[in-house]
């Protein structure tokens, strides 16, 4: 399904004639130099062709004949290659002469019968060229190391296109592909049609962490019988036609390209998504909305408002066309998460569904997270949420900026399961809650986002298990809630408040710093001590502020009244509720006076 969806996407890209998508037999490759040849086959000039639209000049992407798959062998590309092949000069390769010989042989063989003047000129150049001549050409040497080992293409003086783009060359390239196809055809399991089967598949480039030369989704190591079945070799293990193999890899490379708006990096997982729609505008609108919802932090404020209204529209069950006439509810969206494993790529997750269902699930996700007062201006992205599971010092550098490698610290499996939960509307990973609680105990950082995540895990679990009798955790302080975890969390917040009021804000280590972890895990051991100590704090406070002391004592009594006893230990879910109760109670202190008035304050 993944490969056929990608292959279909390629067909649509081709039909739409999207820039930068190579036709069959071609590939987009980084080319930095053009060698200009005279009609007689002499090297006349060398041009540097760099793409200067970005911040830094970069090699230009040109559509060239598909590269050979090189791992350790010497195989030459057709009509273009790096300098070690094209010119026999290299600063890294120790077998440049061998490689240049392969380049020569390939072209002599393939082009010997061709009478076209530019091809003849090219062959003449190859005949006459001696790698030792390199030093003599100041046209070449003036670029120094920059030229070395970069990719070059050829152009003959007086022609308007590169050699590989000329009609003669194109004819030869198609012919070469036809020769590759075998006579015996078999069923392609992507398209379901009889076709020539690919022995090896083209590589996929641009997955973070994978080998820079590219990696494969479909691969079978020949020497490794553990990866193949029934003694079948390479492509016979999974018959995929040459066309389909080309289609899906090209589509994937297009999605993963630099600056693509259809990709997102989450931990070590590269996520790509695309919309299936015959109309370009529909597809782009859907992709834009989806990307904005999945990764809102990348957008500005007006964009955030737009996304919020999208969430609202869907939550109300209205069609998204109201928002933007180009948005179709039933546009199919595909999401693919790829994780690198050296030369192989593994599929972390794969989801496809209607745009409407995805927006609904994302809306549900953000609703599950919601706390009052809302602790964020924009909906937090999944990547940002995942960063909550690592210690703050690994998240930020000294200037409070997010560390570059912070995303790598998040447990890789957690990333996959988390995004899967967001996209499918299923349970959040169970390890997430355990992870958060462990982190809060360890670094005492009861941040709003961590609490929100705890709440989301518990709310969603309860909803899926359909525990109607269990009360859903509300967004803000709920004085009716009598769950021990929640109550203890609240009590802990009140006790901390008492300490702060009595001793001021300059205490070296507060009860939170010291007892949060043990209080949430083993209340029976910690709370009696804390409640006793609170009496000292209250008596101290009574001298300065009678009203506050009275109010705090009342709050403590109210909560303790609801507790039958201090439990010996709390399970992980109850510890999650503890965090939420603590957070709610703490926040209630600052939010207006409503909740306190209800509790009858004399302030």
């Amino acid at each position: 399904m993944i490969l056929s969806a990608l292959n279909n996407y390629y067909q649509r890209l081709m039909a739409r004639q999207v820039d930068g998508v190579a036709p069959f037999g071609y590939s987009q490759e980084k080319i930095s130099f053009v060698l200009l040849l005279s009609k007689k086959g002499e090297l006349v000039d060398v041009w540097k062709i760099l793409d200067t639209t970005g911040k830094r000049p970069e090699a230009r992407l040109l559509c060239v004949p598909q590269p050979e798959k090189r791992t350790s062998g010497v195989k030459s590309n057709f009509l273009w290659d790096k300098t070690s092949y094209a010119l026999g000069v290299s600063s890294t390769s120790k077998r440049a002469s061998e490689e240049h010989l392969a380049f020569k042989l390939l072209h002599k063989e393939a082009l010997s019968d061709v009478k076209d003047p530019s091809v003849v000129a090219f062959l003449k150049f190859l005949d006459a060229w001696n790698p030792a001549d390199y030093e003599k050409y100041d046209r070449l040497t003036r670029f120094g190391d920059e030229l070395m080992d970069s990719n070059v293409v050829f152009r003959v003086d007086g022609e308007f296109c590169y050699l590989h783009e000329s009609s003669v060359a194109q004819k030869i390239i198609t012919q070469r592909h036809r020769e590759e196809e075998q006579d015996s055809k078999s069923l392609c399991l992507v398209t379901g049609e009889e076709d020539s089967i690919a022995r090896l598949h083209p590589v996929v480039k641009g997955v973070n962490g994978a080998q820079s030369s590219g990696a494969n989704i479909v691969s079978f190591n020949r020497e490794n019988p553990a990866f193949s079945s029934y003694g079948k070799v390479q492509g016979d293990n999974a018959p995929v036609s040459i066309n389909a193999a080309f289609g899906y890899t090209t589509a994937l490379n297009h999605l993963l390209r630099k600056g693509s708006r259809q990709r997102l990096q989450l931990g070590n997982t590269s996520v790509v998504f695309w919309a299936e729609s015959s109309s370009t505008a529909n597809a782009e609108a859907a992709e834009g909305l989806f990307s904005g919802l999945l990764d809102p932090s990348a957008t500005d404020d007006s964009e955030a408002d737009k996304l919020r209204s999208a969430l609202e529209v869907v939550a109300k069950g209205r069609p998204m066309r109201e928002l933007d006439p180009e948005l179709e509810d039933d546009t199919r969206v595909c999401v693919l998460g790829l994780a690198p494993n050296a030369s192989r790529l593994s599929v972390r997750f794969w989801e496809s569904g209607s745009l409407h269902s995805f927006v609904e699930r994302l809306a549900q996700h953000y609703r599950d997270l919601e706390l009052q007062p809302l602790p964020w201006k924009r909906e937090p992205s999944v990547g940002w949420l995942l960063l909550q599971t690592i210690p703050p010092h690994e998240r930020f550098d000294n200037n409070k900026n997010i560390k570059k490698n912070a995303h790598e610290k998040v447990k890789p499996n957690l990333t996959g399961e988390m995004i899967r939960a967001v996209l499918t509307g299923g349970r959040y990973p169970q390890s997430l809650l355990a992870n958060l609680i462990m982190r809060m105990r360890a670094d005492g950082d009861i941040s709003p986002l961590r609490v929100a995540l705890c709440k989301a895990v518990l709310v969603r679990d309860a909803r899926i298990a359909n525990k109607l009798k269990e009360k859903e955790i509300p967004m803000s302080l709920d004085i009716e809630n009598v769950e021990p975890g929640y109550l203890l969390g609240r009590l802990f917040a009140v006790l901390e408040n008492a300490q702060e009021k009595a001793l001021g804000g300059s205490v070296n280590s507060t009860i939170r710093d010291r007892y949060y972890g043990s209080a949430s895990a083993t209340p029976a051991i910690v709370f009696p001590v804390l409640v006793r100590n609170a009496q000292h704090h209250l008596s101290r406070l009574r001298k300065d502020n009678r009203g506050a002391a009275k109010n705090l004592a009342k709050q403590i009594n109210e909560i303790v009244d609801k507790l039958p006893s201090f439990p010996k230990s709390l399970r992980i879910e109850a510890q999650g509720r503890f965090a939420i109760g603590y957070y709610h109670q703490n926040k209630a202190r600052y939010v207006g006076q409503e909740s306190s008035i209800e509790e009858g304050v004399e302030l």
């Binding site: 056929s4 069923l187 999974a238 494993n341 972390r348 997750f349 794969w350 499996n413």
Partner: protein, 224 residues
Amino acid sequence: MAYGTRLMVWGERACFTRPEMKVERVSYDVITPSAARGILEAIHWKPAIRWVIDRIQVLKPIRFESIRRNEVGSKISARNVSSAMNAGTTAGLVNYVDDPKERQQRAATVLRDVAYVIEAHFEITEKAGADDSEGKHLDIFNRRARKGQYFHAPCMGVREFPANFRLFEEGEPEPDVSLVGERDLGWMLHDFDFKNGCEPRFFRACMRDGLIEVPPFVSEEVKA
């Protein structure tokens, strides 16, 4: 359906590997006919019979999970096995996952919490003797399945994921509500043509309300 039988199978995890993604495994959405045949054969099989899968009813929502494990990267070669047989000792005939040369870390995207009802019948093969009859083998299968007996532990695609089973004798299976509607599952492995160089044959799997009709192995819809 005269000699048909229905078997309910379920398990915590399952991995019906897609052939194109079997190095970093990704499972098909549902059990394949060949995996279903494997489960039936684990309970009862003789050279005299050949199992044919007719229908597969999916009962639980399709859910995935990804795992990453250390596995061995090679198989023990047949030559080493035969030389061990000659030598009469299995010394050295082993692959350790701890061995850094053998270790391969592989990821797998597998199914979580699956349950199916497999509807199947069998055909008598040319290897059948005079005392082999369909009724006899059906009785043997049903008796064994009822008692929970098997030749080797049936599994959900891979050995690590065992399959529980029981004979589904009455009533209609109730698929999960999430399976309502029609769903194209793409080209799926039907089975191997073992007589013809182990050639894989594929069919276009389509699920209607959780039910997948499996076309006969030799038919127009099944292509090699």
